[in-house]
Amino acid sequence: MTIIKWRPGRSGHRFDPFSEMQRLQREMHRIYDTLTDSQEASRPAGVYPHLNITEDEDNYYVRAELPGVNPEDIEITTQDNDLIINGERKIPLEGEKVSYHRREREARSFRRITSLPNHFDSGKVAAVCKNGLLTITLPKAAAAKARQIDVKPA
């Protein structure tokens, strides 16, 4: 279940009902999508990285934000309907004579496993990492594609 953060109006900031409404609207859409979607996996998992999964007629697309991750440090494995993303985010040292004011970025390894709703052609899976955004394209297996069946008159 989605938990909506309550944001009290802070003094000094004008309360903007329109942006609040927009935010609420987006939140409602998300909750609605979560409730109506029969997929078990539509709750965000507490595992890095967050994933977006979409589909069109021919492919599934899995996207993840991986800023600062060298594409060489990402390993993608498939098994049946599962997709496994392994990797490590490295942050190089910046010399000894620097003093840090803020340090919010973390360097660590990650592992995320997700299931696609149907079979994909594991031999044709392609992955591109551009500007820290990973896109994995998984062509649907012939059996998973929607097919229109003609009804012939008897």
Binding site: S42, E55, E65, P67, E94, H101, R108, F110, N131
Partner: protein, 133 residues
């Protein structure tokens, strides 16, 4: 899960702060800021932002960094799972040192902005000669 693994964190959404001309969510990028004798360096996580979509503005001591992420999906795609949203990254800082504005450099690699802000040369002490009139 071992504590060595990267913890997932929700993207921080920007609150308050004026009205924007573009609709859509605005996120606060995670940053590292460190300082050496000669310069201040800022690293900001902005996944999906291409170098041409980054804008950096330094006005007086106010540094503003923002980046736009375009639409990721095509019209034909339908969402099965959405755990993150994309939009604009935006963050503002107040700098305490004087910066040499002409020597600022910015690069983007793998969705991380690296901004190097060289400190301005401090006014050197000057000896003023008093000449006899």
């Amino acid at each position: 899960m071992s504590d060595k693994e990267l913890q997932v964190r929700d993207k921080r959404e920007l609150e308050g702060e004026g009205e924007r001309t573009k609709p859509g969510p605005v996120f606060v990028p995670a940053v590292d800021i460190f300082e050496s004798e000669a310069e201040i360096t800022l690293l900001a996580d902005m996944p999906g932002v291409a170098s041409e979509n980054v804008s950096i503005d330094l006005h007086e001591n106010q540094l503003t960094v923002s980046g736009e992420v375009g639409l990721l999906t095509s019209d034909k795609e339908e969402y099965l799972l959405q755990e993150f949203e994309t939009g604009t990254f935006h963050r503002q800082f107040t700098l305490s040192d004087r910066i040499d504005q002409n020597a600022i450099t910015a690069t983007v690699k793998d969705g991380v902005l690296r901004l190097v802000l060289p400190k301005a040369q401090k006014a050197k002490p000057r000896k003023i000669e008093v000449r006899a009139g």
